[in-house]
Structure formats: C-alpha cells, structure tokens
Amino acid sequence: MSIQVDHVTKRFGTFTVLNDVSLHVQTGELIALLGPSGCGKTTLLRILAGLERPDEGKILLHGNEVTDRQITDRRVGFVFQHYALFRHMTVTENVSFGLRVLPHAQRPSPDRIQKKVDDLLALVQLQAMADRYPNQLSGGQRQRVALARALAVEPKMLLLDEPFGALDTKVRKELRRWLRRLHDELHITSILVTHDQEEALEAADRVVVMHQGHIEQTGTPEEVYEHPATPFVYRFLGDVNVFHGRISQDETPREETARELPPGTDSSGEHEVTFVRPHDLELSPTRTTTAQLEATVRFVIAAGSRVRLELVSKDSPQTIEVELTKERYRELQLRQGDVVFVHPKQQQIFRMPGPSSV
C-alpha cells in the first residue's frame, strides 16, 4: 500500500511540530524517518496511524484519503518504542489480541487463531515463550512480540516508532538486520522512526531526514550520506569538521551546494562554510602544497578498527577530527605533539547567510 502525506501541518499549542510536510512512500518500501528528538518524526508516524489528527493537509493510503478515518479502519501495524505489550496477557494472548477483537463474523475460529499465533511466533523465533508474561521477557524479546502482535492483523503498512531505541547496542544491531530480512520476506510498506543514523542508513531503502518539523532531504542511504543537501543533514549523518571559508583554492574534488537564502537576506552577507568528514582528511608530515592547514596532534585514540586523532589547528583554536586507517597511521608514525599538515580529499562547501565571523 502506498502512502501519501500531502502538506501536513500539526501544532501542539503554539509549537509547530510539523510544518507543511509532504512525503510519498511506495508500496513495499522501507522508509526511515531520521532526525533528532523534537523534529516531528514521531508525530508524523502517529498521524499516519490515526493516533493524532493533522491540523492541515491530507493523508492518502493507496490513493484514498483517510485523514478523517478511524484508526481501526486504516489497517496499520504500530510498534511502540516501549513495546506497549498488554502486561496482564501472555505472549500468545498479546499476539492474538487483534484477531480476538474482530467482529464475530470476521473472527477466525480458535484453532485458526492458534495456528496463526504459532506461525507468527515461529517467524519472530519465540515459540518457547508462548505462555510467558511480558515482564518475564527481555527487551529484545518484548519488541519481537510487539512486532508479531502488529503483524497478526495483516496490516497494509507497518509503522515502527523507535522500535529499538530502548535496547542495548548489540541487540539493536541484531534486530535491525532481522527486521530488514523480515521486510524483504513480507514486503509490507514500512516506516521506521529513528534518531540513530546508523540504523536508518543500514535498514532503510530510503531515508527521510527531518529537522524542526520539515523534511531536509529524502534519498537512498548512499545519496543522503554522500551528498547531503544541507549543512544539517551533513552534520546529522556523521562526524564532521566545519571550517569557515575555504581551506584550499586548488583542484581538490569538491561539491558545492548553495543553500537557499531566506528572503530579504543581503547576498553579500553570506559566507562559505566547508564541511569535511574526519575520514576525508589526509595528513602528511611535511608541507606539500600551500593548501594545507598546519596542526598539532593532541590526542590519538587507537582502539577500534580505525585510528581517530584530534588535532589543533595552528591558526585558530579549532579542533580537527581525523580518522585514519591503521595502515596509514603506522606509515605516518604520529605521536602526541607532532606537527602535521591537513588536506581534504573531499569536501563540501555550503553558502550560509550571515557574516563569516559566526
């Protein structure tokens, strides 16, 4: 089922949570709504589910407008951040709930319900837990029960609100991959809300980056990571070094994106800001071109698959983060206090409003 969000605005009191948001999700897609807390992603999800009503705009499911339709008519599966399992029901009772509340005429027979529950528990690998209560399960198990419960009603779309947010890193990673595999099997149109960029980039077909109630960029994980449309997206999708002005005037491969200036801004007042990812910075022990920044090594963190260095620029008090491969680090033989020359392999320049002293 395709989902269309058409110019949706939502306010809580005087605070605008969603500001004229439009989005199209194709049938069978897995979309990640990514953004910091307070950006409106959960509200958008709740509006899609019918748990909130938009102040303006329309929601179309499969081309039909459902803005004013009840939740029960929408056939959505909703997975809550804190699972929201029914605490007084066993796993089986939780999963079968959606079938047991169907009107008598549509309700499957007890045998069919049991069969369905068994199948779903097999799908989420929890057959052994069928008679347990939620408080006897781990966080990861609870979330899988919540997912099985949502799938039991055969939803046309699956909405997941920070489903792995309350779990520890390892379980989160496992469940994320498992969710991706599940989606490839079932092909239910799914929207995943998350503030974890790694989660969004890894699990989703397309990522929608949100910020302060509007969509900053929509694209495949690769697109948004490699070609961030705005400084916000650049910053949000990973570590970044920000330099005011340009580092070099030479032929370094780079992209430029002119940021739309607010009306009324004097274009002479804008300034350029260069964004460089830590792994796009190259170090050399000696000056090879004029387009290099001189810096001193302040810290070296060698644990992990890559070596991270913290440098201090010679000309400004700015800290520069650099990420090197182990091999390159060994070649350079850097130690705390060494002087190095920094040069971007790839950079992106944004034009920002306001004077450059910011």
């Binding site: 949570v17 910091p36 959960t42 804190h82 399992l85 509340v101």
Partner: protein, 302 residues
C-alpha cells in the same frame, strides 16, 4: 531453603546496620510505636467488645432482635449499595478522563474530587438541607410535589455519596497516570473498539486498585456519621443508619446495646481491613515487577 532464609535475614540485618542505628535504638522505636498504637487504637477497639459482652452473650444479641436495629442495618446496606456503585462508575470515568486525556479544567476537576475530604461531613450534610430542606432553595417545590429528600432515604443516600466521592477516583488516578496511554493506543491500532479496549486492557490493569478503592469507599459509606446525621432526622426504624443507631442507644443509657451494635460496625471494619490486606498482597507483586519501561510515558513529540 533455610540457607536462603538465613541469607535473607543477614541481608536485612546488613541493610538495617546501614542506617547506623544501634539495636536498642531500633527496639525502643518499635516499642514506642507499638505502645502508642496499643494505647490509642487497640485498647479502645477491645473495649468495644468487652463492653458489649460484659453482661453475657444473651444481652449482646438482644439489640439485634430489636426491629429498629434491624431497620438500621437494612438502611445502612441500602445506602452503601447505592453509593458505592455510583461512585464506582464516577470514579472510573473521572480517573480515565484525568489520566488519559488532556482537557481544560482538569486541575479543577482533581480539586473538586477532593472537596469531600477537605470539608467537615456536617457541612456536607448541611449543604443538602440548604438545598432540599423546607426552607431550602428547592424545598417548597419539593413539598408541593410531595417529594421527600431530607429526613428520608434519598437524603441519606445523597449525603453518603457526597462523602465517599473521592475514594475510588483517588485510588485510580495515580495508577492510571503511571500506566500511561500506550497500551490503549496499541489496542486501538489492533482494531479494538473503545469498549473492548476498556474491558480487555484498561480494566484488568486497574482491577486490584479498583477493588481496593471499592472497599475503602464501602467502609466509609457504612460508617459515615456526620453528614448522614444532619439529613436523617433520626427517625427510628425509618431514617436511622447503624452509626446513628449506636448514638441513640448510647444516649438512652443502653450501653450494652450501643456497644453491641458498635461491635457490628467494628467487625465490618476489621473484615474490610483483612480483605484490604489480602488484596494488597495480591496486587503488590504485579506492581513491584513493573520495570521502568512499563511506566514510561509516551515520549514527548519527537
């Protein structure tokens, strides 16, 4: 098993030692508390039974053959059986509204629910006399239409309802607030109607607190003296509830009778307390196993 218990005892001793109080300080405090309760609670309670039984069982049971006493018992049960269900419905509805929804005047509603606890029961009774009494606002109209509220059953029921309003609502509000709205929302997304959600999700989650509230409400409904005294008119065999009947018997120097009837109310209270304790035991484990995630409120918009 016994080593487990021994370990538990040691653990308790360890924890007690953390507060830094020496053994004799602890025992002195415990003795003080027990002595205080014995003096002011237990002895008076025991005295009720001692007085009631001092002339033997025959005179103890004599007042219960009196039709006026039986009428008082009946009236008390009628008043409670009307007030408790009404407050049950109101309490659940109010707690549901307060805990699960945001609306204008919510704080006002919470305050209003507390009024009966704040004002003297006598005033609660007087309010109804002022409203429905012969000189009251609607009194003349009521007399014209031959409807009796004051000095009759409706007045007693109204006064009882008034003083027992807060008990169930106050028991439920904090629990329902801490449980949040997520389970209900989950039920809605799974296709349950409002009524199905209430019966299958909300009610099972609050049942022990609800029962506890009902018990407290019932205890108060049967024991209420002040408010009922004002509106009842003390007509024997007609508008006398049990507490009022105790007073009448006592004023007539029928001490044994008064204490015998009083012992009935006391027994009622003791049974209530026992049931309450059992319920607390039953509901306690499920409360303590709530982990923080259960009680987490649906997050702020993000």
């Amino acid at each position: 098993m016994s080593t487990e218990i021994a370990a538990k005892v040691r653990n308790e001793e360890w924890k007690a030692s953390l507060t830094g109080e020496s053994t004799w300080v602890r025992w002195t405090l415990i003795a003080l508390a027990l002595g205080y309760l014995t003096l002011f609670l237990f002895i008076p309670l025991a005295a009720v039974f001692a007085e009631a039984l001092k002339n033997g069982l025959e005179s103890y049971f004599a007042p219960f053959q009196d039709p006026d006493t039986l009428a008082a018992i009946r009236l008390t049960f009628i008043a409670a059986s009307l007030a408790v269900p009404l407050n049950l419905v109101f309490g659940v509805a109010a707690a549901w509204a307060i805990a699960k929804f945001e609306f204008v005047g919510k704080q006002l509603l919470i305050t209003i629910i507390d009024i009966p606890l704040a004002v003297s029961p006598v005033i609660s009774g007087l309010i109804y006399v002022l409203l429905f009494g012969a000189q009251g606002w609607v009194g003349p109209w009521l007399i014209e239409h031959d409807i009796r509220i004051i000095f009759a059953l409706p007045g007693i029921v109204l006064a009882t309802i008034f003083v027992t309003v807060p008990f169930i609502a106050r028991e439920l509000i904090p629990l329902m607030q801490s449980q949040g709205r997520e389970e209900e929302e989950a039920a809605f997304t799974l296709g349950a109607s409002g009524w199905q959600t209430f019966i299958r999700v909300t009610l099972p989650n609050i049942k022990w607190s609800l029962l506890y509230g009902v018990i407290l409400c019932n205890a108060r409904a049967m024991g209420e003296f002040g408010a009922v005294s004002v509106v009842s008119g003390h007509i024997r065999g007609l508008t006398n509830t049990l507490p009022l009947h105790v007073e009448i018997l006592y004023n007539e120097y029928n001490a044994v009778g008064a204490f015998a009837v009083a012992s009935l109310l006391t027994l009622l209270a003791i049974v209530t307390l026992i049931v309450k304790t059992v319920i607390e035991r039953k509901s306690a484990p499920s409360r303590s196993t709530h982990d923080p995630a259960w009680n987490a409120q649906p997050g702020s918009p993000s």
